[in-house]
Symmetry: C2
């Protein structure tokens, strides 16, 4: 039976939203066991006696890593924090995967400390599925390694390929490099070197994509360093939310428009739905030797439910093993 | 009398849209002289005899730098290209400013070759005014220097401050560093070093902003290296256009929604209007020792008109001199 450990204390809406997402997952997936890791007293507040499922358990962890703490230092100091305990459950073989919406830095630090890296990976990456006009596509790295080298970007391509194939169900995914022009030779030093490596790899490398291509879903996997990736990801979020805010304001500015707004409301809801990152739940720390799924800090019930689904799929599909195999294959070439 | 030289052959819609924008500017600003630089035969196609203004002249340049050419090489080779000739007119004192919607790289190469840099500036930057929920704000560098150093970013802050004060009319503009977290100490090596320099400068430095803050207009001037800036700028453009495409599709998906769409159409037009970069016309190559205004490649009549307005204001306000003074002052501290 697959067992998934959840950091019940991590995230803007923890532990309430986390517990609710777990209850939903426990109901929908009776074949998995969910381990809520955290302060049992606080977790139980959201667990009405009659609602608890047989495949849901609580594992006590007395401490919490806060968002403002230095990730690596906090992980070393707070050995009984929910993220450390949940990650250790994976290391010890008690659980198959860990899911958290808490400090991503702390989750990465705990993963590196207790799970280590997949052989051949020098720096893990955080992938995220971004909504585009053509379904969800993978962008990485969005947070792990802000001073990446070209070799790292090549490895992101290899790991991204596996993730896109297995979890997003894309056959022979198109891999692209995020850059400031479409032609070869464009970009800063890092991008120029990474282009060379990607071009000479066995990946289905389609070349450079520019910022404006991202929302159109031209590529299935886009690689970049974490500084660029994180800023781009947040720019996309900010653009979506600010535009919706502006649109709502303008289309309700007078009575006539308000009537129109009512009529098109279902359409706008569909647009919002297609931009909803909660559908994708979370994305793994790619390159870590164990399944550790990162959720958005503002994850609610639905995102947590979907992150558990992703953790389940990653485990069932043996994604870690497949990445290790692919790396060995590509290094053998 | 202020004289502005326009690269009539640069841009996706050249020379037609360029000539039309110039005709409009010549009409609205009878106190400036506009010099259309390019292939006179092609320019004249768009200049009906009776429409030509006394304050509009043509200056022959037989060659054109194409978008696919290597900028520096093309500028050296094509000495009679419209961008080179227009820039030389500024160097020779015949014109006060140059405006182009052609290859930005070629415009920069020509500016560096013929106008040089302002004393104290090691690397010029391209600024661009981006629409936000709170009027237009300046983002720089969006294209000149993809491998910037921390000192460059500090100078972008100084130049951006002057531009925001004079052209955007913002008093004591708030300067921010684009980064992957709001706290000090965040980011890659470049951002960490730049933060230190900005913090210790005389600028009104408000710290880091993240990608999601950009569309909300939290800062008046945002500095970053050109790799990040260019990708962010294009991501913003891509998000705006892809979202509008999706919204149009969804709000006209059935008859009822089509009726609603008609009623809210003026509201959506207002939203589109507030995102319209053509209002801002163009932005100067900041740090170049002469006024050289960069327009978006897809500029049409309105953008060209507004770029001429910006060129006029930069000249009237002696922006180059003010940047030089400010640099001297900040170096003297």
């Amino acid at each position: 039976m697959i067992k998934i450990a959840i950091d019940a204390m991590g995230g803007d809406y923890a532990p309430g939203a986390i517990v609710k997402g777990c209850l939903q997952a426990a109901e929908v997936y009776p074949d998995i066991q969910i381990v809520l890791v955290g302060q049992s007293g606080r977790i139980k507040e959201y667990l009405p006696g009659e609602a608890i499922k047989p495949n849901l358990e609580i594992y006590e962890a007395s401490e919490v890593v806060e968002m403002h703490e230095h990730p690596a230092a906090a992980v070393k100091k707070k050995k009984d924090s929910s993220i450390v305990v949940a990650t250790r459950l994976v290391k010890d073989g008690y659980a198959d995967a860990v899911v958290s919406a808490g400090s991503t830095g702390a989750q990465m630090a705990a993963a590196l400390l207790y799970l280590g890296r997949i052989k051949g990976i020098s720096r893990p990456a955080i992938g995220t599925v971004i909504p585009t006009l053509q379904s969800g596509k993978l962008l990485l790295d969005v947070g792990a390694n802000p001073d990446a080298k070209a070799e790292n970007l090549l490895q992101y391509g290899v790991m991204g390929k596996i993730y896109a194939e297995i979890i997003l169900g894309i056959n022979n995914p198109k891999i692209a490099l995020l850059n400031i022009g479409s032609e070869e030779g464009k970009g800063n030093e890092l991008a120029q070197k990474a282009y060379e490596l990607l071009k000479n790899s066995t990946l289905n490398f389609i070349g450079n994509v520019e910022g404006r291509d991202i929302p159109y879903g031209t590529a299935d996997v886009i690689v970049c360093d974490a500084f660029v990736g994180n800023i781009v990801l947040k720019t996309i979020e900010g653009m979506a939310s600010s535009l919706f805010q502006l649109i709502k304001e303008k289309i309700t500015a007078n009575t006539l428009r308000k009537i129109g707004a009512l009529l098109i409301k279902p359409g706008l809801k569909e647009v919002a739905g297609s931009l909803d990152y909660e559908v994708y739940g979370g994305a793994p720390l790619l390159g870590v030797n164990g399944t550790s799924i990162v959720c958005h800090g503002s994850s609610k019930e639905k995102a947590i439910f979907n992150a558990i689904r992703v953790a389940k799929e990653c485990t069932e599909q043996k994604i870690i093993q497949k990445i290790a195999d692919e790396l060995e294959k590509s290094n053998g070439n």
